[in-house]
Amino acid sequence: MQASSFEQFTGTEQYIVSPALRDAVNVAIALQRPLLVKGEPGTGKTLLAHNIARALSKPLLVWHIKSTTKARDGLYIYDTVQRLNDARFGDGDVSDIQRYIRFGSLGQAFTAPTQVVLLIDEIDKADIEFPNDLLNELDEMNFHILETDEHVVAQRRPIVIITSNAEKELPDAFLRRCVFHYIAFPERDLMAEIVHVHHPRLATDLLEQALERFYALRQVDALRKKPSTSELIDWLQALVVGGVSAEQLAATLPFLGVLLKKESDVDVMLKKGVNLTYARA
């Protein structure tokens, strides 16, 4: 049971991983498959890629997906308008199409001299067909530039991390090629560890009480948007700055607005008779 050579990623000082996620990352790296990460908002899907890059000391390329993003944008963009403009006004060498080809994030990842970590963030935001359009490029790690008849082959296969909020179903053919991990909401012990990374000097009794209130809040079914890890961390910051003690926290829920981002959710809690005021110690 000793750590083998492909145990590359074990988390970083700022980022605590569960054993299952750590294994998934390492399997994806070893098998050279994209890692698809899903999970509730605020569970650190995007941060994962940043921390893999940091832990393995590799450059990170980020490709933020929007609803209008097309698969080809990630490979390269042929700037026709610029070329048209140059042709009209005689700026530069118009016959050199190469000058008007700009690589997107995926294209940059392929052409980079060293292995990079490529984050394809929120892939579900794009059109339903988007992932299918990327299948071949991600599989073969090469693509063709039509305009210059050039073939781009990845120097080193990038480590690809894909995040999704599960808004749209991803196509089966795409899923089959990925390693999948669902980041479950952290249990209390893991959460305490995560909080410790962000607030190392937090008093134990305050943390215990805050976690108690936090997990109780997540149990309230009437809430439309349940608070997540990032909100908890912000809230603890607010509690520390506000000088709230563990005893006060037992009776009141100050700075509820940090945890609940929807007005209707705050109303739900107010109707339950939650006390928001506290006296500064």
């Binding site: 294994d23 098998l31 308008v81 048209l84 009209r88 179903e169 089959r176 999948f180 479950a184 439309r224």
Partner: protein
């Protein structure tokens, strides 16, 4: 045995393909599972299961396939090793340490090993055997003051035990749905058309126009693509629908929040649709069904929600409406047919489980509208039917 596991997964309707299986074999041959069932559990899951809604089915399949493999020697050894490791006791309070000192560690260890040998079943809340939640000296989450907590946080639970806990039960797809899931399903109701302000550069037209101008650049813009889908939601607010109120409300708010529809209209009816529809759930304000049919174009996507379960005369008789002060000249079934004929695509979502759909009135309604269950799968299929291009 591994191949059996593959078929067990398929048997539990998890869509595992052979390519994924071969990937798993590749990972195993690289030594990724460390000959540990727990590592295998997560490894196989990350490679074979690509949707959290199948995690529960995976847990069940895993349990089924590896049930026999309990407390492997490796885990027992781990526990015995743990007992010998004094530094793991550091986080105990002085009181706990004092308690611990009263125990003879050697005797405890022997007792532990002996109990382990005796034990054959998973054990919960007892006072003697190894397990969880009890007051025996060994186990997890127990109350025995001198007890030994067998496993730490997560990591050391046996894989089968993790599978048995079925943490992902709530993510199953065949369960009825929450608002967010409904929104996802409703998102498929889209019909992209170029609408609104001209904001996108139309490259082909620009080049064409520039050529016509003899090289003088002229940029041509066109409107971006927007969703043109129009949706009409008709909901049964009758008494028999009471148990499904939250479900229907969920569907309603999902559709209401979906800002991407060009138009969204909703009305209520009571058991069956007659000459009037209601604009509020308490059925005070009403509109005429006929005028609604005149107002709305045939390209509205119509979703009817109801159990379609009523007395047959409510559906087929004139004057059959349940409210005695409401006399309908035209039978409900005729009104349903009129709606079906007016709109190009309609579906009926039924919260009742499918095995009840052979009841008379449900059967009649099904002849008019394609009927789907009000579950995530049913909604998915229904929406697919709605967006299908009609001739």
């Amino acid at each position: 045995m591994f191949l059996d596991f593959f078929y067990t997964l398929r048997h539990h309707k998890i869509p595992v393909a052979l390519t994924e299986w071969r990937l798993l074999m590749q990972a195993l041959s690289l030594g990724f599972a460390h000959s540990s069932l727990e590592r295998f559990y997560t490894l196989a899951r990350s490679l074979l299961v690509k949707d959290v809604s199948y995690y529960d089915a995976y847990d069940l399949a895993f349990k089924e396939a590896f049930q026999g493999i309990r407390t492997p020697a490796e885990i027992v050894e781990e526990i015995l090793a743990w007992l010998q490791e004094p530094e793991t006791l550091e986080h105990l309070t002085p009181e706990q340490l004092a308690l611990l000192e009263q125990l003879d560690l050697e005797a405890l260890r022997e007792l532990f090993a002996q109990r382990l040998r005796e034990q054959r079943e998973r054990h919960d809340r007892g006072n003697r055997m190894l397990g969880t939640g009890g007051t025996a000296p060994f186990g997890r989450n127990g109350q025995h003051p001198k007890g030994i907590r067998v496993s730490g946080a997560g990591g050391q639970r046996s894989a089968v035990q993790v599978a048995t806990e079925r943490q992902y039960e709530n993510y199953r797809r065949d369960r009825t749905l929450d608002i967010r899931q409904m929104q996802v399903a409703l998102k498929q109701l889209r019909n992209l058309k170029r609408l609104g302000m001209e904001e996108e550069l139309d490259l082909d037209a620009t080049i064409d126009q520039t050529c016509r101008n003899g090289g003088e650049i002229e940029l041509i813009f066109c409107p971006p693509r927007k969703n043109n889908a129009k949706v009409l939601l008709l909901m049964d607010a009758g008494g028999s629908m009471m148990p499904y109120t939250t479900l229907v409300e969920g569907l309603f708010s999902a559709a209401h929040q979906a800002t991407h529809f060009k138009d969204f209209q909703y009305y209520y009816f009571h058991n069956c649709i007659y000459e009037q529809l209601y604009t509020d759930i308490r059925m005070n304000a009403r509109v005429s069904t006929t005028s609604l049919l005149h107002q709305l174009d045939a390209d509205y996507k119509v979703i009817l929600v109801g159990d379609a379960y009523m007395a047959p005369e409510e559906l087929v008789n004139t004057g059959g409406a349940l409210y005695y002060y409401h006399h309908n000249e035209t039978p409900g079934l005729t009104w349903l047919r009129r709606i079906q004929e007016h709109f190009r695509s309609c579906i009926w979502l039924n919260p009742l489980p499918e095995w009840q759909w052979n009841r008379t009135t449900i059967h009649l309604v099904r002849q008019v509208f394609p009927m789907y269950a009000l579950t995530l799968d049913g909604l998915d299929q229904g929406i697919k039917q709605l967006v299908r291009r009609v001739g």
